[in-house]
């Protein structure tokens, strides 16, 4: 317990900075969750497993001898098609189902992807390369190059997502389909395919998070379970229907995680996520930036 009060300033700075770096991963996962939530009001429990599976594909490509960044972008293509395919083949049939059915379907997807990864790639822990140099960043004592790289990649993803939704006709159509499906359909937007594209993008963003995370937590079929939990927490803190909230919630959760780790020990890290989730949901369910839902009785 005294460790967190007597923490020297440099140590504190280190914890905060590395929390922000991990927060990049959580923000990406949260962004993927928000993207699907905005369109259909579903929370995708299989998001982490989709990212994990894509990361295995990345490792497969790297082991084939491809350079990291080629493998990276090929994996993004795979993840996009994977997400799109899941929506078109499975999820679309349950869009109007009761909550329990939807949850059950997502849990089913989680099991299938997890089991398939375990059967195909086995359960041993595998190292995953980082594209960034292994030395400390310009000799900085506070951050490793991989951490700086994670933050940069997250920022690039965020910027790309923003540009896509703000400045492209397709992005506009997707936003329209999410906000008002009936009217969008009337002006000729193919709502079903827009939802599928949303799933594809969510899969893609998740895959980025997976490839960044795998270098830190190592690659194995269950590697995303903890990260998904932090992604939930980040999305909820920011307000689960707000992408900017998700982007900010990630670093908040990351810093919280590291400080709590320094205070109460790293063995209870998942409980920090649990307490955050329950705390936000009971005290302020709409998060920091979310809209409060008003239902008509």
């Amino acid at each position: 317990m005294p460790a967190c009060f007597a923490m020297p300033g440099t140590e504190l700075l280190h914890q905060v900075l590395s929390g922000i770096a991990n927060g990049g991963i959580y923000a990406s996962v949260a962004l993927a969750l928000v993207m699907i939530y905005q369109a259909t009001h579903h929370v995708n429990f299989a998001q982490g497993e989709m990212a994990m599976f894509s990361t295995y594909i990345a490792l497969l490509l790297i082991n084939l001898g491809l350079p990291y960044w080629v493998a990276f972008f090929l994996t993004l293509v795979f993840a996009f098609v994977f997400g799109l395919g899941i929506e078109r083949l499975v999820v679309r049939w349950f869009n109007a189902s009761p909550v329990l059915s939807v949850v059950a379907v997502f849990i089913g997807l989680l099991l299938i992807i997890n089991g398939a990864a375990g059967a195909e790639f086995d359960y041993t822990i595998k190292p995953f390369p980082s594209p960034f140099p292994s030395n400390a960043w310009y000799g900085s004592p506070f951050m490793s190059s991989h951490e700086v790289g994670m933050i940069s990649v997250t920022l690039i993803v965020l910027a790309a997502v923003f540009v896509f939704f703000r400045f492209t006709p397709l992005g506009l159509a997707m936003r329209a389909a999410a906000q008002n499906p009936a009217s969008s359909r009337l002006v000729g937007v193919r709502v079903g395919w827009m939802l599928a594209l949303g799933w594809g993008l969510a899969g893609l963003i998740g895959a980025v998070a997976g490839m960044m995370a795998a270098h830190v937590v190592y690659l194995e079929p269950n590697m995303m379970s903890g990260i998904l939990l932090y992604g939930f927490a980040a999305a909820l803190i920011g307000g689960i229907d707000n992408p900017w909230g998700a982007a900010l919630g990630g670093p908040i959760v990351g810093v919280l995680e590291n400080l709590a780790g320094a205070c109460i020990g790293t063995e209870l890290k998942l409980s920090v996520a649990l307490v955050t989730i329950i705390g936000v949901l009971t005290v302020r369910p709409s998060g920091l930036f979310g809209r409060t839902l008003v239902t008509r009785v």
Binding site: A104, G118, A273, I277
Partner: protein
């Protein structure tokens, strides 16, 4: 989702001139006779599998009361199962003088208390959000159990070993046979409690809160009280099951209460039928038997000597998790009532045939 069954006229004949009540009693008698002879007609392995089915049915009954009848989705019931299991293990190994049979009700009471407490914050979470929070609980459970601060009690990562109880009064039964009767007796108690709770005023209130909380509150149902009460009862039953499971495995450890345990419970109630009491037995059977079948299936596939690619796909499809996942999705899509839905449908068909006089073919 399931709705309350309309009450049947007690005297109307259902089938072959006997009423629904008589048929029910006959089925019960048959069940008890089967339970009495089963331990002597099965191998020890088979018998212990049946015992596990019984234990899981109690846990699933608990979850189904909460999720099926009260509409609160829990993906974290493995945590209550863990509380039950650890209570029994700790009482048997760290505390002297408590007989094993007394640890089961204690585990139930402790789980009920925790469940009641968890039920309070759960009041503020609806549908999806409760699923999310309980999912987080399920993921965090092994880590909480491993925590150093209560290492002395929980045994940390190593867990706790205990012994399977032997038969009392010098009965000529081996340990597996005795545990079967012991669990069966507890299952009878659990199902009587569950059935009595659900068929009367409390059950109607629970279902009303599920189907339309605002209308229920307007009719004078104290929704907060019924929701927390349901959470407590549900946790109690699952805790009792966890306690029995600890005796069954003779071992508790943090990693056996991972998120997939809670997910298996969800699979059990969806396959068995959300809101169906007899369905939970089928659901329990399903989650016990599928992993066994899956390994047989994948062994069999490997003996077929199919071309490499095909064989790999089939092995992949026969992994238990993939089978579970596919069963879950297919069941939600094609059979939303689960096994309980089939039973209800059969009963309806039989009843309709009994009600309409047979017509000569025209």
């Amino acid at each position: 989702m399931a709705t309350l069954d309309t009450p049947r006229p007690a005297a109307a004949p259902l089938f072959a001139g006997l009423t629904f009540r008589t048929w029910g009693l006959l089925a019960l008698v048959l069940l008890f006779v089967a339970a009495a002879v089963l331990p002597f007609s099965l191998t020890n392995f088979r018998l212990s599998q049946v015992t596990l089915v019984i234990i899981y049915s109690i846990a699933l009954l608990g979850l189904n009361i909460l999720t099926g009848f009260n509409g609160q989705i829990s993906l974290g019931h493995g945590a209550f199962f863990a509380i039950g299991g650890y209570t029994t293990a700790i009482l048997l190994t760290k505390v002297t003088g408590i007989p094993y049979w007394a640890t089961v009700p204690i585990a139930g009471v402790i789980s009920a208390g925790v469940g009641f407490l968890v039920g309070w914050p759960a009041l503020r979470l609806e549908g999806l959000y409760l699923a999310l929070a309980t999912f987080a609980l399920a993921v965090a459970t092994p880590q909480i159990l491993k925590y150093k601060a209560w290492d002395d009690w929980t045994g940390g990562v190593q867990g706790i070993n205990l012994d399977k109880p032997g038969a009392p009064f010098g009965l000529p039964l081996n340990r597996d046979q005795w545990l079967f009767y012991f669990c069966f007796a507890w299952a009878v108690v659990a199902f009587v409690i569950g059935w009595n709770l659900l068929r009367g005023r409390t059950g109607r209130a629970m279902v009303a809160v599920r189907d339309h909380p605002i209308a229920a509150a307007t009719m004078g149902v104290n929704t907060a009280r019924y929701k927390t009460l349901t959470f407590g009862v549900s946790a109690m039953l699952t805790g009792v099951a966890g306690s029995l499971a600890a005796l069954w495995t003779e071992f508790v450890s943090p990693d056996s209460f991972d998120v997939f345990l809670s997910i298996r419970f969800l699979i059990g109630i969806v396959i068995g039928g959300v809101g169906s009491i007899p369905g939970v037995v089928f659901g329990a059977f399903f989650i016990v038997i599928v992993p066994n079948w899956a390994s047989d299936l994948s062994n069999w596939v490997q003996t077929l000597a199919l071309p490499g690619f095909l064989s790999r796909i089939l092995v992949l499809l026969s992994s238990p998790q993939v089978l579970f996942g596919m069963a879950l999705i297919i069941c939600v899509a094609l059979l939303p009532g689960g096994f309980g839905g089939i039973i209800r449908w059969l009963l309806r068909v039989i009843e309709r045939d009994a009600a309409t006089p047979t017509r000569p073919p025209s």
